[in-house]
């Protein structure tokens, strides 16, 4: 691992200044479960780490507000997953956290770092000799002719088909989450849906966040759709694995009829994937098994298989359908 220097920030402004002034090799450090992991692999090689874990201002979260739920970027996944109000009123948000990683990692990992976790593409993580446009722009993509079983069927490009692996961002996308960030030139808010980018011709650029912008908090508008929601996650093993396919869904029903629906896909796309067309198709429909399946097909419309991942198109459609029927029972 390349040597680096480490400093702990005890103020938000100082942390941002340090990262801003430090140049490209200076990075924020939260739980380290993505960054330190990739440093060990040589995929990340920062020169300076600015540890933001000691900033109390970003550690808390509040799910009791009348208008929005507020999650500090430094709050730990395990603490937020166990919040009784979230469990009862927004099960999809809680599930997206406790179905991720392991309790050890959730005790370490922050909500902000979670959003910025990087792909699990084996050729990206594997380093040399594999070509990878995300790791070394212009070098090619080993996954395209390699083992692409876990790669994206939605949102890929010639340059990169890496799956966005996170769960929390998918649930946030369904609930219209907003990310508040601060940089050297002030603060702004980014809709969660605009935070992650499709790879296009620049897969190394993964988000719309500036290098020296710090995520302060994530906000979710209070909504009546919270209760009838679920994060349905299908994995190779029952727990402690990334999604082969997942769906965050939320419903507002009137009797048997869908009044409003939210559907976001995880594990299938190059970014958290909101399926708005599938949502619209459900409105005014009775939520039968057939309607749920039709929504699943609509959500996967336009999916493009590679060599080994075509099964995940069908799996994705079924995951959405099952998620809708699970959420429906929670009305």
């Amino acid at each position: 691992m390349r040597p680096f220097s480490y400093a702990r920030a005890d103020g938000q402004a100082a942390a941002i200044r340090a990262v801003s002034a430090g140049g490209a090799g200076t990075r924020f450090l939260a739980g380290g479960t993505t960054l330190y992991d990739l440093m060990k692999l040589g995929v990340e090689a920062p020169e300076r780490l600015v540890d933001i874990n000691a900033l109390p201002a970003i550690r808390g979260f509040d799910t009791t507000g009348p208008r929005e739920l507020v999650f500090g970027a430094g709050a730990r996944m395990s603490d937020v997953a166990a919040d009784p109000r979230l469990v009862a009123e927004y099960p999809a948000l809680s599930e997206s956290l406790w179905k991720a990683a392991s309790q050890q990692l959730r005790n370490m990992a922050s909500l902000g770092g979670n959003l910025l976790q990087r792909t699990r593409c084996a050729y990206f993580r594997g380093g040399e000799p594999f070509a990878c446009n995300k790791r070394v722009p212009g070098s090619g993509c080993a996954a395209r002719e390699g083992i692409d079983r876990g790669h994206a069927v939605l949102g890929g490009s010639e340059a990169c088909i890496a799956t966005y692996p996170g769960d929390w961002a998918v649930a946030l996308a369904a609930f219209d989450g907003v990310v508040d960030v601060a940089g050297p030139n002030g603060s702004r808010s980014i809709p969660l849906d605009a935070l992650h980018r499709e790879p296009g011709t620049t897969p190394e650029v993964e988000t719309s966040l500036g290098r020296d912008e710090m995520i302060l908090r994530i906000r979710v508008p209070v909504t009546p759709l919270g209760r009838a929601s679920t994060y349905h996650k299908i994995r190779d093993r029952e727990s402690y694995a990334f999604a082969l396919a997942s769906a965050a869904v939320a419903l507002r029903m009137e009797g048997e009829v869908v009044r409003e629906a939210r559907i976001a896909l995880g594990g299938l796309a190059t970014r958290p994937w909101r399926a708005r067309e599938a949502e619209r198709g459900l409105v005014g429909q009775r939520l039968t098994a057939e309607a749920a399946r039709a929504a699943g097909d609509a959500a996967l419309r336009g999916a493009r298989p590679g060599h080994h991942n075509a099964f995940r198109i069908e799996l994705g459609a079924r995951t959405v359908a099952d998620a809708l029927l699970i959420a429906r029972q929670r009305v």
Partner: protein, 204 residues
């Protein structure tokens, strides 16, 4: 990891060297220069940091290469080899220890991040010399191991699992123990051991 920490309690270095913030606003990044220089004269890498932590109840001061994981620091620097290295990437749980009472993967924890905090390892859970923690006893009673490599991590995770309140039924135990893999497949014994130890821990 090739650079190992050296234990050292003799050089007075301010821990403020670790911190950037209000008092040092405007200074882009401050490393503990005194520590770095002191360490350099002892053949340590430049950029080393002095860290104070409590390990199994005992205060320790270490000079660390920032690259060092908590796992390597415990094993190589403090000769606490109970925590095991299975994967070094957060994927197996063999390195599980408690940091301020919560279970973490020590392989993905930078040792410098443990500054000022309390670490508990498998070596520190027995109530007294010669006694066993109820979870250790239950692992023996239920044959919850074969080769034993995963066992210190399993036991540290299992104790936390009970303390968190995540051991009320078999499904919940399986879910909240999923971060600990056992290549020998001792899962049935591990589950039984946790079910057995949980009420004893609540009493004790």
């Amino acid at each position: 990891m090739d650079e190992m920490p050296h234990e050292r309690g003799d050089i007075p270095v301010s821990r403020r060297g670790l911190v950037i913030g209000a008092t040092l606003a405007g200074v882009p990044l401050v490393r503990s220069d005194a520590a770095a220089q002191g360490a350099a004269t002892r053949g340590s890498v430049p950029g080393s940091l002095e860290v104070s932590l409590t390990v199994n109840g005992e205060a320790r001061r270490l000079v660390l290469d920032p690259r060092a994981s908590l796992l390597d620091t415990l094993r190589e620097g403090l000769a606490l080899t109970g925590a095991k290295k299975g994967c070094d990437h957060g994927q197996c749980g063999a390195c599980t220890v408690h940091l301020d009472g919560r279970r973490v993967a020590s392989c993905l924890t930078l040792a410098v991040q443990a500054d000022g905090r309390a670490v508990t390892t498998i070596e520190g859970i027995a109530p007294a010399e010669g006694d066993l923690h109820p979870m250790q006893q239950a692992f023996i009673d239920h044959d919850a191991l074969q080769c034993g490599y995963c066992t210190p991590g399993q036991i540290m995770a299992a104790i936390a699992c009970v303390q968190e309140g995540h051991a009320s039924n078999p499904d919940e135990i399986r879910e909240y123990m999923s971060g600990n893999l056992c290549r020998c497949g001792a899962y049935a014994g591990i589950l039984a051991a946790i079910q057995d130890a949980a009420p004893k821990m609540r009493v004790g």
